[in-house]
Assembly symmetry: D2
Homo-oligomer: 348 residues x 4
């Protein structure tokens, strides 16, 4: 091991998040990636699963059982929800910092979790300890945290769009409608009828109308931004025939007196010192942020209808997952926010 | 010429609508396609422009100047708006029936046209004569018409989603938000930075926030459905990285007392005798309607938020353009509504 | 049942070929589609599996066990190879005509089958009876056949490219290299790592180098065209990130004395009376034949190198599968070749 | 300016190569990117043209006329052929090192250039000075060069496939057939009928049969590998419906005595110390190298036919353009070959 480097490990190597996390950790100047787990491919090089890393990340895969002996200082858990909570329960006591990609610790309580995830939570103690890992809102809490719940991809784009407006009281809180569109990597690496090329290609549809779990995640966070007063949002996800990217188009009724200039100014000043949010002058395309660590946010005020439209584009695997987790890790270890997050986007 | 067949001609051969119109007219059992115009390719076979029709539609292209001498009984004008009005003005007096794909005669008055299209209309007399060609709403007017303004592609999907709800007074009229997504053929055949493959592929974005001309077209038609009381909608179009298809996701606040069963029943009964609208049990993908003449409409009531979500998928070049025009032609000539519109979709 | 219509059934409803076959049979003026089988969805409407046919092909799915009682005159077997042979063995004796999409009866003998398919054939008697269903080469045999082995998709495009050259002795037979590219529907409907959208999209690769089973199918048929003298071809398939279409680029050394004019003339005259082959003046794109029943063939002679390059584009699900089967059915029942095959391509 | 950093400038900012070159130079630890030219956007930030670089590469664009005053030590010319030669002529005398992306200095003489490019060369003196910038073959010449002709994208993949076989005399030189497939960025950024999304998407075709200019570039280089004995290749390019990547499938007749082991061994040992070529165990997909600086080469010997098949995948904008140029720059300035070329691929 290299002295003075942060020892990091990834639990769950086969999916898109695990793969992107490995890519970023491998290139981070202050990190040493010392372990990646996969129960089904133990012993094989990581690059067997992800051949784009042949010659660069050839670390042999280990079992999750070996994690406690690794000596890792930080673990990135890229596991399905319902699975993740058990590992957090076991490892959290060991004194290692954990950044969890699942939905298991994003909500406010075991009761809300049970309601939206349909399952009794097996580590309720975690709720008091987990910090919601959106650095634009909670940087100081994250700095102190040893368990971070990395936000969902849709909530990241939705909250970056709406949090300034809710916090600054510019919109009617119960008028919010979030029409969200995600590339197919958001659906995960598992082969199914729904991820078959011939089903996805040249297709587009809505899914999960009224019941998607990211709804409550967004609602709880926006509620927090207005002093814990509850609010409801309408959230509808759609599936795009492309690999990467989320675009959120969010609508809300403006409160009296808002105009385009004040909207622009509020959003721009909210993000003035946030290194990973760009407030952009035209409604962003998701291709512009592919491979980037940035959210591109565009505020628009429709004078005719009195509504605000926020559009926000992110790379769902980066700002919507791996980059955001690394941003949190930087905060947790006292590093500059942008360390290891300097790669430029790949376009086209 | 074949006796007893309707003589039809297409003005404007180079675009996607002209091409699809030719395909449908060629296969219609009661129609003879006797002329197609193109100023830039006069004399060449139509299949030179559209090689998929080699051996089937090889008609030599003519100039629009030759149209009056053709003996056509019906003209399909596949021309840009601002251009179309001048041809309508010249030919309308000749006694030929016209179905116009442009936006020039869809609105209620020259004044509204000037406001949204930024141009003084040069054939204001046409407004009194043109019928809005949405057969699900105006079949009897279309039967009597000799000038039909074929609806825009976005308005078709939007109105099929919302007209039943507005007409039956199920929703708050000023709460309507239409988040619409279209395949690239909606942007037209012209090569530009915005239609370059590398700009569109793997990309997705909103455009025309707050100012798209289809907004007023939707507003005027919905207003008509509630007894001419005005209303405003929020309409946002987006560009999908695929060839064909529109999906509209429309939101509105339900009036008190609505529930899922009544919503379903209202929509189903509204379309019970409409051959080209399917009320479907799951939110439709656009690939299911590609190459079809149908709109697939899905009503959803969110009990939690009290909102209605309507999703509607159409093939923008067919139900959103050429099929709908042919449907109107069938009505204008006293043919069964589905005549010549029996091709099945091509999937995948 | 409708009198005077040919009673047809499809065995195997879930795949792309079964779906396309149903679409074509449903629209054929002289056919009644009386049964479609699916063991896993028995009792459900066909449109449950393929929702694009909602309202048009809603026939309830039956078990293959019910096929003998159907009264069908012709069966289309859309089953995997190794499975198909057992059904052919059982039903062939019943006097029903069979068109088989699998590879089980395309080769010359059970021995060759065993060598390339790695399995002992369980109905060797079928080899003497099956006719290779490429109507451009074997129309008269097909007319007499009651068991037709529908050609593979790659062999169809390869043989339409090369058969005229081999038969007319224009090329060195052992110099043939076939570089073939297919859309993803060629890989079938089954979900797997290889058909996952994120694996296929933006990707392209060769597979099956030197061992693909279509190699022997092409070799045997070309050998037949030169009086049963054996020959070998190099055949390499590739996977394209799109739904439909095959392009074959075939290379061969010209025999002395060939020139561009004679090549063009030979190919054009070979296909002069073949309704489903277009000899085209430019190398064809597969999008031009999507949804069409045609092969587009382009001959090119490179004076500098002395080689012939043939390019051929087909829709793999139509001319490469369902259209070709229907063409054979027309021949078997004494119908005009093009009956029921008059739909025009859908582009873009 | 930063002392001790190499001062670099890019001439021609609007295309894909200019954009990728800027991305790489910006991240190179030993380079300072001091100028980028664009005649049509002079004065605007580079990120106006390429918004993915907003906040990172905001350098104001300058005119090419200002280049001599910049103080650059190396110029990257991302200009069309026929244009590039005039700038090389003017600047070459100034003592600045030039890496030229055009085809103007890749061939052996003005005569060959005139024959294949159809134009009299206006700087014939350049032919004696230019070095062909394929580091795997000509590293030592490149180290001494002050004018490097960066190879074409197709020739890069073709030569990496075939040079070892020709140099080691494993194949019949006149039997080479190169079937090449490129993503759409290879066609350039200019909007035209051929780059329109609806023409490219879901399409695939061959072009330039027998006449593509990369043919002679490949022939001259392979000839050089066999001691200047001439040879001819058959080269056919095809257009893929995706953004980035080239796959070359190259065929040749093996000389007597070759077998799979010797082929593998020859190729592996040829590239043993070449940092940017991976000899891979399965035929590579282009998605595995997207965003990477590597060529993935796979040798295959078909025992049955006696032919070698080489497949090679590269990112056409990187190993096929910008990475290769930077690799040459590293050699020219005495830097380690891999300096600034350590980014990992972005997949999916």
């Amino acid at each position: 091991m290299t002295p003075n480097k942060i020892k990091a490990a990834i639990v769950g190597a086969s999916g898109f998040t695990g793969s992107e996390m490995a890519r970023l950790l491998h290139q981070h100047p202050d990190v040493e990636l010392i372990g990646i787990t996969s129960e089904s491919h133990t012993g094989k090089p990581f690059s067997t699963l992800h051949p784009q890393f042949l010659g660069s990340i050839d670390l042999p895969l280990i079992s999750a059982e070996q994690v406690p002996d690794l000596g890792a200082e930080v673990l990135f858990l890229a596991l399905p929800h319902r699975v993740s909570m058990d590992y957090v329960a076991r490892w959290h006591e060991l004194g290692v910092k954990i950044i969890d990609f699942s939905g298991d610790f994003r909500l406010s309580s075991p009761e809300v979790y049970a309601e939206w995830y349909g399952e009794t939570h097996r580590y309720p103690a975690g709720f008091g300890q987990a910090v919601y890992g959106l650095p634009e809102l909670y940087a100081s809490e994250i700095q102190q945290a040893d368990l971070v719940a990395n936000p969902g991809c849709y909530p990241t784009a939705s909250l970056l769009s709406l949090a300034p407006l809710v916090q600054k009281d510019l919109i009617e809180p119960d008028s919010i409608i979030i029409d969200a569109k995600s590339g197919l990597t958001g659906a995960g690496v598992k082969a199914s009828a729904g991820t078959h090329f011939s089903e996805v290609n040249e297709n587009f549809k809505a899914y999960g109308l009224g019941v998607h779990r990211h709804t409550i995640e967004i609602e709880e966070q926006l509620s927090r931004q207005r002093g814990k007063q509850p609010l409801q949002v309408q959230f509808t996800p759609h599936l795009l025939p492309l690999d990467r990217g989320i675009l959120v188009t969010a609508y809300a009724k403006a409160k009296a007196g808002l105009d385009a200039a004040r909207l622009q100014e509020t959003v721009a000043s909210f993000y003035a010192d946030k290194p990973f949010v760009h407030v952009v002058p035209e409604s962003p395309g998701i291709k512009t942020v592919r491979g980037s660590h940035f959210a591109a946010v565009h505020p628009f005020f429709d004078q005719r209808t009195g509504r605000v439209i926020m559009t926000c584009a992110i790379d769902n695997l980066l700002k919507g997952a791996a980059s955001q987790a690394l941003h949190s890790m930087n905060l947790m270890f006292g590093l500059p926010e942008t360390r290891g997050l300097e790669q430029l986007p790949l376009k086209p």
